[in-house]
Amino acid sequence: MWCETFSDTVIEHFMAPRNAGSMPDADAEGNSGDPDCGDSLTIYLKVKDHVIEDIRFMVFGCVAAVATSSMTTELAKGKTLDEALKLTDQDIVEALGGLPENKLHCSVLGESALKDAIQNYLAKTE
């Protein structure tokens, strides 16, 4: 449950998520999760010269899902697509100062949506 000690960083990102919102003119978007299962994340990308120039997300999910989404976008912003593709759920968890064990799966949500968005972008531009 959520009451099992979240780090201050998790709480902070949950209360003030970075890059939250949609992006109508996005170059690509990626999805992960399933709203029927209680979590769903969409990541939007604006890419210039192979660099993630801007990034936004929309999320339906628990505290960890919101914080993970926020942190994923923060880590990816300004990175080249190749660098961003190398981001792992472990990097995201570490940047958040850890997640309770039963919430670790939430970090996969961020990684997969980001990868999906980048792959969609590459498929479109190739």
């Binding site: 959520w2 209360m15 339906f60």
Partner: protein, 391 residues
């Protein structure tokens, strides 16, 4: 200091003052073991039996019909397994509902694994079972009907007296999980034809770790815990004297004020419901009329329950959600599923549960905070298609 509003009274309640006062001596000077022969032991034994008398008298039972347990879960487990043991030579069919607490559902699963057959009655959109469906489900080999008096998630109250009448007509044992109901709504064991009933102290201003099972005289209950022979040799273990004394005091206190408490809580709750239903795409779950006075349960489309609870908490409001995200995936509520809520929407539940400790200011604070919490979460929700403006 930041205002703190406790609106999770269906989860547990603050220990009431009369309960604390009654318990104090047994937590300090009167620490004798009720089984001991000396003065201190006899004093503790007397306290225990006074508590049994009080509990019985509130329930309209006799003291020999009250067995103290560690809480509601133990009482539920005991009742269901005992009924199966007692009835197994007559039959192996049990009737219950899809919306019982896990303290009933999980023991029933155990019994199914042992070869018992369980019919889980469905409920209507308000969470009420159908008496016709119950009548149709009764078979020659039905040995137990177990139905909760009131639901913990949506507050719906079942037609217990009518169920009891049916059970009696067919000579089937009738157990009622009254954990959410006792101390909150009147419940007459005798006229409702109840054979066994579970209750938990901490739901009505008593301490955690104490509960009771009422068992109608004449039912020869199998033992729950074997040992030194406490609770007429059926539930061994040194009694939780302070807890039991506190439970009886809380029950007596609540019962004496039930009318005025219900009236106060109903007014607060109705104001809360009215105010929160102004939020677009908000929906009340449960039955408007047959409903526990304190429970206001909602679905706020497009918003996930746990994040709502967390954001409310960071604004000083304690609430709960049927939605729980865990490593094995998001568990959606079996109760919301039973009343026909689609899976995605069932993750958007919020329960606010009030009692007589709550005030008008508490309701004001919730009405001020919750709409903006919903709006903030909707603003970043990919499954919300409505307006993204602040309410």
């Amino acid at each position: 200091m930041k205002k703190r509003v406790y609106a999770d009274n269906a989860a547990t309640t603050r220990l009431s003052r009369p309960a604390l006062d009654a318990m104090m001596p047994y937590l300090t000077s009167e620490y004798g073991n009720p089984s001991a022969l000396h003065t201190m032991g006899r004093e503790a034994k007397l306290a225990l039996e006074r508590a049994r008398n009080q509990t019985a008298s509130v329930l309209g039972a006799v003291p020999e019909e009250i067995y103290f347990t560690s809480g509601g879960t133990e009482a539920d487990n005991w009742a269901v397994k005992a009924a199966a043991e007692l009835g197994k030579n007559k039959g192996r069919h049990i009737i219950s509902t899809q919306i019982e607490h896990h303290a009933i559902l999980n023991p029933l699963l155990c019994l199914e694994a042992q070869g018992f057959e369980v019919t889980y009655l469905g409920v209507d959109a308000q969470g009420r079972i159908s008496l016709k469906a119950l009548r149709d489900a009764i078979r020659k080999d039905t040995i137990l009907i177990s139905v909760m008096a009131a639901n913990n998630e949506i507050g719906t109250i079942q037609p217990i007296a009518k169920i009891g009448k049916l059970a009696k007509e067919h000579k089937i044992l009738f157990h009622v999980d009254a954990v959410q109901a006792i101390g909150h709504i009147p419940l007459d064991i005798q006229s409702a034809g109840i054979d066994m009933l579970s209750l938990a102290a901490h739901k009505f201003g008593g301490p955690k770790g104490a509960g009771a099972l009422y068992v109608r005289k004449g039912i020869s209950l199998p033992s729950q815990i074997q040992g030194g022979g406490q609770e007429r040799n059926l539930r061994s273990g040194t009694e939780n004297v302070a807890g039991i004394v506190g439970m009886a005091a809380a029950l007596e206190y609540r019962n004496a004020r039930m009318g005025s408490h219900m009236e106060k809580v109903l007014l607060l709750r109705n104001r809360l419901i009215e105010g929160l239903l102004r939020i677009p795409n908000a929906r009340l779950t449960g039955d408007l009329l047959n409903r526990l006075p304190g429970i206001a349960s909602f679905l706020f489309e497009g918003v996930e329950g746990e994040s709502m609870v967390m954001m409310l908490d960071l604004h000083g409001i304690c609430a709960s959600s049927g939605s729980a995200c865990a490593s094995n995936g998001h568990e959606s509520s079996h109760v919301l599923k039973a009343i026909g809520i689609p899976r995605q929407l069932s993750h958007s539940s919020l329960r606010l549960s009030l009692n007589e400790d709550n005030t008008d200011e508490d309701v004001d604070h919730i009405l001020e905070v919750l709409p903006s919490v919903v709006a903030r979460l909707r603003a970043m929700s990919p499954v919300w298609n409505g307006s993204r403006e602040n309410y």
